[in-house]
């Protein structure tokens, strides 16, 4: 069980059952479980969608697309079956929120999937778990089995005449399938590579049927919205950014962990108050505020509201809510290398710029970090990233390119410190290697 942290500023909505034994169905029911579903069963599908729209809930996977609007794109009539997918392929470095939901409150995800299915008229829901989250598969499968045993899922749920099935599926270990169309390919048993869009999943998705696909945190928020009302949820956050968010604080912090804070909470306060500030003796060098794919910001930029609209003003993004704090003992070239290595490893290889670009950047960074860099490498890194940006088949290429551009822009001197045979200033013993 992951270590749970807490802070007085937290507004516990999605995390309100964390640490309370809600994996047990009885316990979940004591904690208002499946009430939202029963309420939703009495509502018209449009009313559910309107409630979610009113909540200003924006996709928690990272793109921030309004959830209610996404649901409203699904055609009312469809010759093919409709599906609801829960994207639990949480793989973004620095992000570890969905796993807490699956671990502590699995039924909230099931309930969210079912409410989404009612809203769009789907009869089947899938909960797709990241391949590496093997231990969560057991928890989720038990939760689904328990709910089936009570008749909460399956035929005629709660005597409403509605039939609904839920299946849990585990990935095979690929960051790429966090992309919604690649996830559907993977779920269909194929290679996890993204699809050409349009058509979008809402129209042609899983097995060709209209499909709603949402992040696990988004879906786990839905029961609370139905019970508490969209307006209540919206007011928890800032205008246009409804509700709360699970922020994953990592790095050399005194109290790292996952905190549920209102949307728009100040980043500086988050670091120095909520997470207890930097570990003694270390100073803040930069922050990656939304998972490894977003741009780095410098300490003088951190006085910013953590929502989808404010971070772009300082040249970054809210992303997945993974706040990675970088201290002054960390080599930024090594950090760039680690990030690039991840994308190089996770690139599906489908399109040229991502496949070749990440590999090239990784080779360059390995060489630079070991002291084999030359002056033109720095511009070349930026050139590569800029030529990947916006030209790849799916956003993975952008995710690999955006951070590199920002590292070079904001921390160019650190790259220059590695040139012409100079070993990494942070690792005196390193030897130059050519890759």
């Amino acid at each position: 069980m992951a270590y749970l942290v807490s802070h007085p500023d937290e507004v516990k909505v999605v995390s309100k059952r964390f640490g309370k034994g809600a994996t047990s169905l009885d316990r979940y029911l004591e904690l208002d479980g499946y009430k939202a579903l029963q309420k939703a069963l009495t509502m018209q599908p449009d009313a559910i969608i309107n409630e979610v729209k009113a909540s200003n809930l924006r996709g928690r996977g990272g793109a921030g697309f309004p959830t209610g609007m996404k649901w409203s794109f699904v055609p009312k009539q469809s010759p093919k079956p409709k599906y609801v997918l829960c994207n639990g392929d949480e793989s973004e470095p620095g992000t570890c929120k969905d796993r807490l939901i699956f671990e502590h409150d699995p039924h909230s995800v099931i309930e969210g999937v079912m409410i989404a299915a009612l809203a769009v008229g789907a009869k089947t829901g899938y909960i797709y778990l990241r391949g590496e989250y093997r231990y969560l598969v057991q928890i989720m499968e038990k939760a689904v089995a328990d709910a089936y045993a009570r008749g909460f899922i399956g035929k005629n749920i709660f005597g409403s005449g509605v039939d609904l099935d839920i299946f849990v599926h585990s990935g095979a270990g690929a960051y790429e399938v966090g992309e919604e169309s690649a996830l559907m390919e993977s779920l269909e048993g194929k290679r996890g590579i993204p699809r050409i869009r349009p058509p979008f999943p809402a129209v042609v998705g899983l097995w060709g049927g209209p499909t709603v696909i949402n992040n696990a945190e988004s879906l786990a928020s839905v029961p609370h919205i139905i019970l508490g009302g969209g307006e209540w949820f919206a007011k928890l956050g800032t205008p246009k950014n409804g509700g709360t968010r699970l922020f994953c604080m990592s790095g050399e912090l005194e109290r790292p962990g996952v905190y549920e804070l209102p949307m728009g909470y100040n980043l500086k306060k988050m670091i120095y108050d909520v997470a207890g500030g930097m570990v003694k003796g270390k100073k803040l060098k930069g922050v990656v505020p939304g998972g490894s794919s977003v741009q780095i910001i410098t300490p003088d930029e951190i006085d910013v509201a953590m929502d989808f609209d404010s971070l772009p003003k300082v040249g970054s993004m809210l992303g997945s809510g993974g706040v990675i704090v970088i201290d002054d003992h960390t080599c930024l070239v090594k950090f760039a290398l680690r990030v690039t290595q991840f994308y190089q490893h996770e690139s599906c290889g489908w399109c040229i710029p991502c496949r070749e670009g990440t590999d090239w950047m990784k080779k360059t960074l390995v060489r630079m970090h070991s002291g084999g860099g030359v002056a033109k490498d720095i511009d070349n890194l930026k050139y590569l990233a800029e030529n990947m940006l916006g030209r790849t088949f799916c956003p993975l290429g952008d995710a690999a390119a955006m951070p590199i551009i920002s590292y070079v822009q904001k921390f160019r001197s650190e790259f220059e410190d590695h040139l012409n045979g100079k070993p990494c200033p942070y690792e005196k013993a390193a030897q130059p290697v050519m890759v």
């Binding site: 190089q344 290889g349 070749e356 590999d359 090239w360 050139y383 030209r391």
Partner: protein
């Protein structure tokens, strides 16, 4: 569909709705580069070369996946687009080995062309390249991983196009690699389509690799000489000690009826042409052994033996067997030679389909045969018998493509689950040998169903099938040699009632031509009975013998009984193909024209070494009746073509060759140089030069074009566009003008070749590539070997 107007680079284009932007641009002459896009294959959007700017879209968009929209404004040449293309090439070249100087694709490489046009001359890459060793996947397919740009064309053409699905992707990211289906090798149809479609030199041909540079070859687009489908194959030819060497067969010229397609035979099985056992000079039997002789002595001997037989036993003591691989002109000449010079109707060939019954059933009906191209766009296809995947690979491709791209309905009626049943809307597995009864059932005889139904096929299903077929308009009906005689007639009558078109499947490259040109004892060209007065009787300058001659089996019987004094076999191997006891021919003087010492040639008294279809000009008619011109790719030193041999024998017998070949006479149209193997530009220059010197194009009695003139004038259906033929196009010959055809060919004489994808009759035995592949797919116990088998000594056995 409604039209859409959009603007590309300031040009206003109007295209049908549903058009891809990349196709709209292509149609307007605006080039958008691409690697992974390929017409008629699924879209990938993977190579990102076709990125263009579209107004109101923040990012560059791939033209290959974008559908045109009303009012769309597109820019294909902005700085942003140019930079995107350039960087895409830089990224590709980073890991590319740049071994262009030794790469097979050098000079024919799309990556080279793109880099030349859109790329950067300098490279920013300075690290080690990812490398993997070259792999051999099959006798004919090699894979060089570092050169691969992962466009996935090979995977799609193999899966979607061929329905073989033997290629896939392994690993991911920069380690992604195209992988074969069986661990480290391929098990597939060995068609080589993956090699043809590869834009770079990643997939290379076992037959061609590292042999030459593409610009050292002459590229001659001619007709494949194996099965009856008539694919156009482009031969890459180089000079060699023996005259010329074919180094490559490929689909460089995609204008043929086969479009993209070629199978293993069209692509690799040209190698029989320089097989070491190819005969370079005439042979004559002395003291029981075939020994070399000169052409003059051989012709003298043949003429003398023919004369002797005519004098002693009369014209009926001589038999002639023609070929399914010789040209229409040669076949026409051969039967004319038999009838006029020898004065006998004893002429036949190895029949593989009942074309006479087919012609007879269709006699006088307009527009009732389907061309190979028609199959691609037919709304519905009925296939009875045969296994096109093995025996007519192009036809199978056409049917598959029709189903895949046009959602055509395919009805397969076969005694086994042939591969095409996977594309079938309806598959009726009938009892083996009941094809004829099935047709009778179609024609309305319900009782005939008794022998057709099987555990796999109920009577109800048969009735449903018949009802469905009756409601199909635009049906193309294709049938194999299982149907003969009255069954063909019944099927044709059934189909004609609803406006269907037909294809009758014969097995070799010019089987249809042999039939059309009258290699029958009872029929003249165009299936005209010898008994009735025809245009040939009017035009030919000698009398046609008035009684039908002996067919092939009757000739063999006559030979056995000592009544056949001489047998003239042109490009045929009856001993092997028709299972004739070689001893039967011991009492006859046997003359064989062939490339090799086949089973028949090895017992002959005289063997004349001749040219094959790649070494001569003329025309071929494929099984569906499409006429195409053979273009001479080069010569093999020492041999002559069958046409010349026939004419020389006639001349040596004292016959006036003007009566045989109407050369130099009125109405003869000039050869454009094709007889000399001239290419289009060259032939034009030749014609211009002749005209400017007030010279007639030279005609000789050995010029098949003169014979083509007569064929076009006299043979029904062959009055086709000479210009289109010369331009290398396929021209469909209809059986329309056939009248009075009797279809009296004996159905029992039909012996299908039953070749597989990896065999090709006698020719196939001399193709090392086919043999290597065949042996690879045949379990060892299938190979029978004599106790004294020596792989170094390979008689045509």
């Amino acid at each position: 569909m409604a039209d859409i107007t959009l603007t590309v680079d300031g040009k206003k284009l109007t295209v049908p709705a549903g058009t891809l932007l990349i196709e709209a641009c292509k149609g307007a002459g605006i080039e958008v580069p691409f690697f992974c896009y390929y017409p008629n294959l699924s879209l990938q959007g993977a190579c990102r070369m076709c990125l263009v700017e579209i107004e109101k879209m923040p990012k560059l968009q791939t033209a290959c996946t974008t559908l045109v929209a009303e009012g769309m404004v597109v820019t294909t040449e902005s700085d942003k687009v140019k930079q995107a293309r350039k960087s895409m090439l830089e990224l590709l070249l980073a890991n590319h080995p740049l071994d262009c100087p030794v790469c097979d694709a050098g000079g024919e490489c799309e990556l080279q062309d793109m880099t030349f046009k859109y790329g950067a001359a300098e490279s920013k890459f300075m690290d080690l390249k990812n490398h993997r060793d070259e792999q051999q996947w099959s006798p004919v397919v090699y894979f060089d991983r570092p050169r691969c740009i992962l466009c996935y064309r090979c995977i799609r053409v193999c899966g979607e196009g061929m329905d073989v699905w033997s290629l896939g992707i392994q690993n991911r990211g920069p380690s992604s690699i195209i992988a074969p289906n069986k661990e480290d090798h391929l098990e597939c149809e060995e068609c080589g389509m993956c090699i043809d479609i590869c834009p770079v030199g990643a997939l290379t041909s076992g037959a061609y690799r590292y042999k030459t540079r593409p610009w050292e070859m002459k590229h001659v687009g001619t007709v494949c000489t194996h099965c009856g489908d008539g694919c156009k194959t482009t031969l890459g030819v180089r000079r060699a000690d023996t005259g010329m060497q074919i180094v490559r067969g490929d689909n460089r010229d995609k204008s043929g009826i086969n479009g993209e397609f070629l199978c293993i035979k069209g692509r690799y099985a040209f190698d029989f042409a320089h097989h070491p056992e190819r005969l370079p000079q005439p042979l004559v039997k002395r003291e029981g052994k075939l020994v070399p002789t000169t052409w003059e002595q051989a012709f003298d001997l043949i003429a003398k033996k023919f004369q002797d037989a005519l004098t002693s036993d009369g014209p009926t003591s001589i038999g002639v067997i023609g070929s399914n691989h010789t040209s229409n002109e040669e076949n026409y000449l051969l039967q004319k030679f038999a009838r006029l010079v020898l004065g006998t109707n004893n002429i036949d060939h190895h029949r593989t389909a009942d074309f006479p019954a087919f012609a007879s059933a269709l006699a006088g009906k307009q527009n009732t045969t389907a061309s190979m191209r028609d199959v691609f766009s037919a709304p519905a296809v009925l296939l009875i018998g045969n296994d096109p995947t093995e025996q007519h690979p192009l036809l199978a491709w056409q049917i598959r493509s029709d189903v895949r791209l046009h959602r055509a309905k395919l009805y397969v009626v076969n005694s086994s689950a042939i591969k095409l049943h996977r594309q079938a809307t309806s598959f009726a597995q009938i009892v083996s040998g009941s094809e004829g009864n099935f047709v009778q059932f179609l024609a309305g005889n319900d009782k005939a169903a008794d022998s057709v139904v099987s555990p796999n096929l109920t009577r109800e299903a048969l009735t449903t099938l018949r009802d469905a077929l009756k409601n199909e308009s635009g049906l193309v009906i294709i049938f194999g040699s299982e149907l003969r005689g009255a069954d063909v007639k019944a099927l044709v009558d059934f189909g004609l009632a609803q406006g269907a078109k037909f294809i009758c499947l014969g097995d070799y490259a010019n089987s249809r031509g042999a039939a059309d040109m009258g290699l029958y004892p009872d029929m003249l060209p165009g299936y005209a009975p010898v008994l009735t007065a025809t245009r040939y009787h009017e035009e030919w300058l000698d009398e046609i013998p008035p009684i039908p001659g002996m067919n092939l089996l009757q000739m063999m019987d006559a030979a056995k009984n000592g009544k056949l004094k001489a047998l003239y076999v042109v490009g045929s191997n009856p001993i092997a193909r028709n299972n004739i006891d070689p001893f039967a021919l011991s009492k006859s003087f046997v003359i064989v024209q062939d490339m090799f010492l086949t089973e028949t040639a090895s017992i002959a008294d005289v063997v004349l070494p001749v040219a094959n279809a790649y070494e001569k000009s003329g025309t071929y008619t494929n099984t569906s009746g499409d006429v195409q011109m053979l273009k001479k790719a080069g010569e093999f030193a020492g041999v002559r073509n069958d046409f010349e041999c026939i004419v020389r024998i006639a001349a040596r017998m004292g016959y006036d060759v003007h009566k045989l070949v109407p050369f130099g006479g009125a109405g003869t149209r000039a050869d454009m140089g094709q007889t000399r193997g001239a290419q289009s530009g060259e032939s034009d220059r030749h014609a211009v030069w002749l005209a400017s010197h007030n010279l007639e194009p030279k005609m000789s009695p050995y010029d098949p074009t003169a014979m083509l003139d007569e064929i076009q004038r006299l043979v029904p259906g062959y009055d086709i566009s000479r210009l289109n033929l010369l331009a290398g196009q396929d021209v469909h010959s209809q059986l329309v003008q056939i009248t009075g055809a009797t279809g009296m060919g004996d159905p029992a004489l039909i012996m299908p070749a039953n070749d597989s994808l990896f065999t090709s009759g006698t020719l196939g035995k001399f193709s090392d590539t086919l043999n290597t592949v065949y042996e690879r797919y045949s379990p060892p116990h299938d190979l029978e070997m004599a106790a004294d088998y020596d792989p170094q000594v390979r008689m045509g056995g």
